[in-house]
C-alpha cells in the first residue's frame, strides 16, 4: 500500500507503475494546510483520468472535525474509489457520522452503498481501546490500519526502531481485525534508506498477523512484497497438502499426514492462504 501525496502531480501520475497492490492518494497529512483545496481538486481530476493498472485505489480524506473533511468527501465519494481511508478514528460515533455523510452523498448521486469500502485508521490511544467496536461497526469497514507516527505522539512516547511503544496497539488492532474477519494493515517505515530494518519490521508484523504494510517510497514495495510472498518451499508444501486433501477426500479418508505431520483444519486453512498469496488457484489442484 503506497502513500502518494495528494498535491504532487508527478507522483499521482506515475503511482500506478510500481506494482503496489494498493495506492493511497493522501489529502490528509501529506498536504499542507493551505493546499488542501488544490490537492482535493487535483486528486479528483486524477481519479477520473489516470490508469492505475488495476491497483486498489484509496483516498485518505481529512477528518470531519476539520474544515476540510466534508469538502473532501463531497468531491471524492461520487468518484467511488475502492475505499475511503478515514484518519484518527476514536469512537463508533465518529464512524457512524462518517457513514451517514457518505451514504447521503451516494444517495444524492444515485450510487450504491456497498461498493466503496471504508478503511479506518487508528492513531490514538482512545482509538486503540475502541478498536474492536470500530472494526465490527459495519460491513463497509473492511480494513483497519494503525498510524504509528500519530499514535506515538498521542501517547507522548518516542517512536523507537523496535516499535516497543506501539507493540500492544499493533496486537490489539490485529486481534480486532481478525475477530471481525477484516484486513489489518501496518503503519509506514519512515527511514526509506534503511532497507534492512524495514525487512525486519515487516517480517515481525507479518508474524503478528497483519495482511500488509503501508510504504512511503516505491523503493520499499519490493521488500514488503518479498516478505509477504510465500517462499517456493512454502508454496510446494501447501500445494502438496491441498492435493493430498483432495485425494483423501475422494477416497473418504478424513485424517491424513503430509511429510509425517498430521493435517487438520487449521493446517488446511493456512495452506489455502499461502496458495492464495502465491496466486495459485487451489480449486484447480
Amino acid at each position: 500500500m503506497l502513500y502518494i501525496p495528494g498535491n504532487n502531480p508527478a507522483m499521482l501520475l506515475h503511482g500506478g507503475v510500481y506494482g503496489a497492490d494498493s495506492l493511497l492518494l493522501d489529502l490528509e497529512d501529506a498536504v499542507a494546510l493551505n493546499q488542501k483545496d488544490a490537492a482535493r481538486i487535483l486528486v479528483r481530476n486524477m481519479l477520473k483520468t489516470v490508469d492505475y493498472y488495476g491497483a486498489e485505489v484509496c483516498v485518505r480524506v481529512n477528518h470531519l472535525d476539520t474544515p476540510f473533511g466534508m469538502d473532501d468527501l463531497n468531491e471524492i465519494v461520487p468518484l467511488q474509489p475502492n475505499a475511503i481511508r478515514y484518519p484518527k478514528t476514536e469512537t463508533i460515533e465518529e464512524l457512524d457520522r462518517l457513514v451517514q455523510v457518505i451514504t447521503e452523498i451516494e444517495d444524492r448521486h444515485g450510487l450504491p452503498h456497498d461498493k466503496m469500502k471504508i478503511h479506518i485508521m487508528i492513531e490514538t490511544a482512545l482509538g486503540v481501546q475502541n478498536v474492536f467496536e470500530i472494526a465490527k461497526f459495519c460491513k463497509r469497514v473492511d480494513a483497519i490500519t494503525i498510524g504509528g507516527q500519530d499514535l506515538t505522539a498521542d501517547m507522548n512516547i518516542k517512536n523507537t526502531k523496535d516499535g516497543a511503544g506501539i507493540d500492544l496497539a499493533r496486537k490489539m488492532i490485529v486481534m480486532a481485525a481478525k475477530a471481525n474477519k477484516i484486513d489489518a494493515i501496518d503503519t509506514v517505515f519512515v527511514d526509506v534508506d534503511n532497507e534492512e530494518d524495514l525487512r525486519i519490521e515487516t517480517q515481525y508484523i507479518k508474524e503478528l498477523g497483519f495482511n500488509g504494510k503501508a510504504v512511503i517510497n516505491p523503493r520499499q514495495i519490493d521488500i514488503v512484497h518479498e516478505v509477504f510472498t510465500p517462499t517456493e518451499e512454502e508454496i510446494r508444501k501447501a500445494y502438496r497438502i491441498i492435493k493430498e486433501f483432495n485425494r483423501n477426500k475422494a477416497l473418504g479418508i478424513g485424517v491424513f499426514a503430509v511429510d509425517g505431520k498430521m493435517v487438520d483444519a487449521p493446517v488446511l486453512t493456512r495452506a489455502n492462504y499461502v496458495l492464495e498469496l502465491a496466486g495459485v488457484d487451489s480449486d484447480a489442484i
Binding site: P9, Q35, K36, D37
Partner: protein, 96 residues
C-alpha cells in the same frame, strides 16, 4: 465568476504548472501569458484549455500567468480551477 484578488495554484515542480491570477478592470478582457517547457509540442493545446476553463467559470476579465513544467491536461485543469476559485473567493475550507 469575478476575479477579486490575486491568487496562485500549483508549483514549479516537474509535471506541474504554476498559475498566477490577478484581477483587472472590468472590460479589459483576458490577458494570458504562457511559458511552457513543452511550448513547441503543446503550446496551442494549453492555450485552448485555459480559454475553455475561463469560459467554463465565466471569467472575462483576468490577468493570468501560466508557468508550465510539463503538466498533463488534467493537472492543468485542476490548477486553473483551484486558482480561479481562490481568486474569486469561491473556495471554502482552506486556510490561507
Amino acid at each position: 465568476m469575478e476575479i477579486v484578488k490575486k491568487a496562485q495554484a500549483g508549483s514549479f515542480e516537474s509535471s506541474d504548472v504554476l498559475v498566477l491570477i490577478e484581477p483587472v478592470e472590468k472590460g479589459t478582457g483576458r490577458k494570458i501569458e504562457v511559458d511552457s517547457a513543452v511550448q513547441r509540442q503543446y503550446g496551442d493545446q494549453i492555450l485552448t484549455i485555459i480559454q475553455e476553463s475561463l469560459d467554463e467559470y465565466e471569467v472575462n476579465d483576468i490577468h493570468l500567468v501560466f508557468n508550465d513544467k510539463g503538466a498533463i491536461d488534467t493537472v492543468i485543469k485542476a490548477r486553473l480551477e483551484t486558482a480561479i476559485k481562490r481568486a474569486s473567493n469561491a473556495q471554502k475550507g482552506t486556510m490561507y
